[in-house]
Point group: C2
Chain length 283, copies 2
Amino acid sequence: MKSLVNGKFSNTVDIMDRGFLYGDGVFETLAVQQRRIALWPQHMQRLRLACEKLAIDFPGETLLIDEVKQLLASCHDDVTLRITLTRGVGQRGYRPAPNAVPSRIISLHEMLNTKLAKHNNYNETGINLRCCETRLAKSSLAGLKHLNRLEQVLAQSEWQPNEDIQEGLMLDYDDNVIEGTMSNVFIVKNNQLITPDLSHAGVAGVMRRCIIDTVHEHGIAIDESMVKLSCVKNADEVFVSNSVIGIWPVKYFDSKHWPAPGKLTTIIMQNIEIKNKISGLVI
Amino acid sequence: MKSLVNGKFSNTVDIMDRGFLYGDGVFETLAVQQRRIALWPQHMQRLRLACEKLAIDFPGETLLIDEVKQLLASCHDDVTLRITLTRGVGQRGYRPAPNAVPSRIISLHEMLNTKLAKHNNYNETGINLRCCETRLAKSSLAGLKHLNRLEQVLAQSEWQPNEDIQEGLMLDYDDNVIEGTMSNVFIVKNNQLITPDLSHAGVAGVMRRCIIDTVHEHGIAIDESMVKLSCVKNADEVFVSNSVIGIWPVKYFDSKHWPAPGKLTTIIMQNIEIKNKISGLVI
């Protein structure tokens, strides 16, 4: 069994768990490579913040580490780790019970996407990007990785797996570029970096945070602002990121071709790779 | 056991069910009174439509009726019935698998809200309504009752159970009144009815549909349009509806008092009550 539900080996949750009833919970997806969990502190920071905003009791990092170690004890492969925290089992009705006991679900998964990506070498060759019709709504939960993810499901359903497209770009209803379906977006223009402002919509990726910090450390200017489609089309370089895939340079979008990876993208990728190898949680 | 998961008595779902992973599914909540399931055809119509929009295979009404009958066979109380359909067990990643087998979860619940409501007699005495700070986002899934319900969870968390408030009014980001946290809203002005347009946000309630049809049959004008807060405040009568509570007249909102139920509200309530008693699915 590759999953723990509230500390016990199990692969099921109660049908009255509010994560299932209403998507009332949050999650993190982490990369485990050579027994090192990449960006662990950053994931914990976002998880803690998400719990706070939803008023779900955070179970504490020590407990989560213990359970993750227990799961990974007999696993020596590179895997993806998902940590889900929900408001727990409740009654029907949207109002959270005042005495709700949160649920913790920790599970290991094959690094399917990464395997595929490595096979295809997207980090080196770059990807084809499309523009999705599904829009991202404004939300007071912008930035958080909660369990209400139908927008992403709809967006990824817009193209077929056999099409040579690796990611879709998502806009909000005011035509601002926000993010990819499963990644954040960065644009290089005149040696400056731009990434969409996520204060109204989108998921503030842990890898995005790591890239912003890295870029700051190297004295490269980065602007978190409103981004229009024209800005993507006129970019010198474009790349997307998440904590499992790392960085994928974009080689094609909307009849525009870029040599991938671009010059600044390459520098950032190298720095992120070094950081990832020396940081994180060693199991 | 008061629940069937894919036709088997169970109260758990797989942690890899996409209903749990991403809120990738839809549901209906139905009132069962004296062995009659109210508004069954209307619930089935919305469920079918929701499945179609999410490209989830609808399991067919016959199968659902068989399973509901099985569950209700030994139950003679008035209950609430929840039918949940999800995209089924899948892999991690937002893209639905092409061969996904949908999950069906059918469960019985105490009529807590209704019991409470009957005890408090809200249908007769009316309710106090508040305005919620949580806004409803635009969505291409407007009208559907899907499993992404964090907005409603946040909205109902805005007031305490011990406050004398029975429902909260929700607006979109353009200050249009859309609905209640668990109900639809109707306004009477100069003997005409108005209910918010739900083409961009909100859940198109089955009881709302029933009220609109009933009102049409009686030749009363009803307008589905954009509604502002001032329209609620200046109304002659206000009421909210859902398929479990029926109709609750509003007696107080934002320092405005109404005698409840109002004249037109009373007529509509009587007609709906008659309809409910003779229609629906008898088990």
